[in-house]
Symmetry: C2
Subunit: 262 residues, 2 copies
Amino acid sequence: MCPTERNDAASDASSPTSLLERASLVLGCFDAEHAEIGISDIARRSGLAKSTTHRLAAELIRLGLLEQGEGGGVRLGLRLFELGQLVPRRHALHEAARPFMEDLREATGNNVHLAVLDGIEVVYVEILWARDVQPLPSRVGGRLPAHATGVGKAMLAFSSPEVVRARIEAGLARRTAYTIIMPGALTRELAAIRASGISYDRQESAMGVVCAACPVFGVDGAVVAALSVTGRAERLDIERMAPAVRTAALALSRSLGAPTPT
Amino acid sequence: MCPTERNDAASDASSPTSLLERASLVLGCFDAEHAEIGISDIARRSGLAKSTTHRLAAELIRLGLLEQGEGGGVRLGLRLFELGQLVPRRHALHEAARPFMEDLREATGNNVHLAVLDGIEVVYVEILWARDVQPLPSRVGGRLPAHATGVGKAMLAFSSPEVVRARIEAGLARRTAYTIIMPGALTRELAAIRASGISYDRQESAMGVVCAACPVFGVDGAVVAALSVTGRAERLDIERMAPAVRTAALALSRSLGAPTPT
DNA sequence: CCCATGTGTCCCACTGAGCGGAACGATGCG
DNA sequence: CGCATCGTTCCGCTCAGTGGGACACATGGG
């Protein structure tokens, strides 16, 4: 429903100039809720001409980036999954972080998240679910604005001022009643995180969801990721989780070759 | 080393006509061993002109499909990981198969693989490693010729004759001394698998690696995946594993809504 | 029953996006 | 120092890609 508004938000107003941009627009039409889409639907969402979409889709299918679905529509192809598994930012972290994440789940009994910063947004790279799987909105490969998540704030706090400025200038979109939307409030929050080394999310990204997060540093001392323990507000005491998260994040940072913090 | 031969194998001899094909060639230059590559290197591998490669890479970076590496080169971007997580063929299976795969690892104590058939090759969708992680060559997102793997033969055996013919016509490449390379031998092997419901890999894909695999069926009764228990030849008695693999595959098929086999 | 509206597919004249040879400055190795 | 190779930039030519329009087919309401 409301099939035309996606394009307005995605491609601003200018028609895409390059073919690759058009193809990228087509790929961007898919999400977790829309796994298989028809040609006309894609054309509508992406704002491309139907004939263009058709030809583009046919080519993408030939390359394995899309594939013919069962309901006559098309869906993302296995080749994308293959390529996705090779992404270094994800791969290297995945390997290194896995044991520490398992420790953290064992110690806290809660959901453990690993995320990286991509520009001004966070991308979840790995999630370990707690034993009693309580459905959380987060998803591996999912993308959220950095200012509205625990892991995002943890990484922003230790990023360059340019990144923080870019985040603010792009707008601090509200996600819940608790989301930090004032630039001044965000700056103060980041200073507090920098001082304490721990970042809390008190229902700022989704109602009823809280987390405690810590930054993870790489060889050059720059922040490369963030770890968090996440759960439902009524069950999880995030202050009590802080030491465990911090310990795991420090251990992971050390194993990545980060210089020992002063 | 030998930087020019990749292109000869990948793009046959004809220069790629479409821009998307060129971009796909660039993305295809990356693998597990080559996570970050320079522009000139990509140009050499893909057979494209250096200026073309440069412009292409810049655009792919703009779209998030590539990103600037640390050593001056470029690497696959996070957006590819994102898209890869949305691939339905992987996603739906992943969710459904996980508990059965864990059962199987628990029951056998060995490595459990889940793979799907993509054309005439298999792609590993999920791998659960045994407690004592003995390094196997398989990798999530990895791709192998179907005729040379246990999971591949399991799926070929229950695929349409056209798929089998396509596999044979594309050539039964040898991977080890035990790989089935004669079309007649493959046809006979597939008939045996069809009869018994179980497929064995006796060091046919890699020396020292054996597995027992079973097909997994979907709603329409067509094969959608394969499960296997894999291990090192000197430690794993694959005949003893067969009942467990078969049980898990049947249970998974049933949970996917497959019609009960006659 | 037909018409209206949806789908996926195909055609083709026009044009501007992309190609790649060439040249550039920076770096590094012998 | 010269030579090689790196990433980057420029620019004229040309053919790949565009998109409006037409088509066959399925659906479903009057």
